[in-house]
């Protein structure tokens, strides 16, 4: 019980508040990934991207867009995740340009490109493509559903 408080401050909550957490500049507060503002924070202050260059708050979305976004979140959550184990093949997340640290939460795309989970989820909400190879993520997912 005693550790609950410590966990919640170093984990999600302080990291989600971008500017607040960086002001506490001690390095252990900065955590593994610099892009922590993804699905959890979007759920708190919903801002969505019906298409890559369009940003809207949830109140401005049409019903059709809401369905599209709900489907997209579902799809993203089907992509495998893991923690970085020091594998030499993927060294740096090309989205934030920060080297992976052992224990970072990562997500693997069907093309086997790996990113910080927070970084790639933010991108996938805009475009379902791999930033590195442009492989569409949704088509690959659908085929993997069929074969399984």
């Amino acid at each position: 019980m005693g550790n609950c408080l410590k966990r919640s401050t170093t984990d999600d909550i302080s990291l989600l508040r971008g500017s607040d957490s960086v002001r506490e500049s001690s390095s252990d507060q900065l955590g593994p990934s610099p892009y922590q503002e993804t699905l959890p924070i979007q759920a708190a202050t919903p801002v969505y991207h019906p298409s890559p260059s369009v940003t809207r708050s949830v109140a401005q979305l049409t019903e059709e867009e809401q369905v599209k976004i709900a489907k997209r979140i579902g799809l993203i959550q089907h992509l495998p995740t893991g923690t970085y184990d020091g594998c030499k093949k993927a060294r740096e997340c090309v989205i934030c340009m920060v080297e992976f640290l052992v224990g970072d939460a990562v997500r693997y795309l069907p093309c086997m490109h790996t990113y910080h989970m927070a970084c790639i989820d933010d991108w996938l909400m805009r475009s379902l493509t791999c930033p590195s190879c442009m492989e569409p993520v949704d088509a690959a997912l659908l085929t993997s559903y069929e074969t399984n």
């Binding site: 500017s19 892009y35 890559p52 260059s53 090309v94 920060v98 970084c119 991108w123 442009m134």
Partner: protein
């Protein structure tokens, strides 16, 4: 690098690598950028052996705090805007990676290289056919333009 937003941290890294190992003909005004990381001015020399040999151009990059998820706004600025079928006389550039084909794996360096190669492959110096109309009617921000991309063979 504490106290920076994720976009600023990434831009700072990009700046350092661009200063250390710039692509040929490309120089960044690092002192200007250090004052405002969200707006860069980059000098670009026309490559030798191309129609732009001996000319130099200035590119302006503007970044939002959503960079690299949002593409940078890139335009030619200054007195010499290259005469090219994909460059409007107001400096706007018709290049798909700046809007539809942007990916967060791209970088300032990748955009510069792409523009260098766009210029280098040019066979005839001329403005886009719709230049006059576009310049009169476009938004100040080229990212607001709904581009239809000219064929890439030029």
């Amino acid at each position: 690098m504490a106290g920076m937003s994720p976009s600023e941290r990434r831009l700072q890294k990009e700046l350092m690598s661009l200063v250390k190992e710039p692509p040929p003909g490309v120089t960044v005004h690092a002192d200007l950028v250090e004052k405002n990381l969200l707006q860069w001015i980059i000098n670009m020399e026309g490559a030798s052996g191309t129609l732009y040999e001996g000319e130099s151009f200035q590119l302006q990059f503007k970044f939002s705090n959503k960079y690299p998820f949002d593409s940078p706004e890139v335009t030619f600025v200054g007195s010499n805007i290259p005469v090219h079928p994909h460059v409007y006389s107001n400096g706007h550039i018709c290049l798909s990676i700046l809007t539809d084909d942007w990916s967060p794996a791209l970088s300032v360096q990748a955009v510069c290289l792409s523009i260098v190669s766009m210029l280098s492959s040019c066979k005839e110096k001329k403005r886009p056919p719709d230049n006059a109309f576009y310049v009169k009617t476009c938004s100040k921000n080229p990212k607001k333009t709904k581009w239809w991309y000219h064929d890439d063979s030029v």
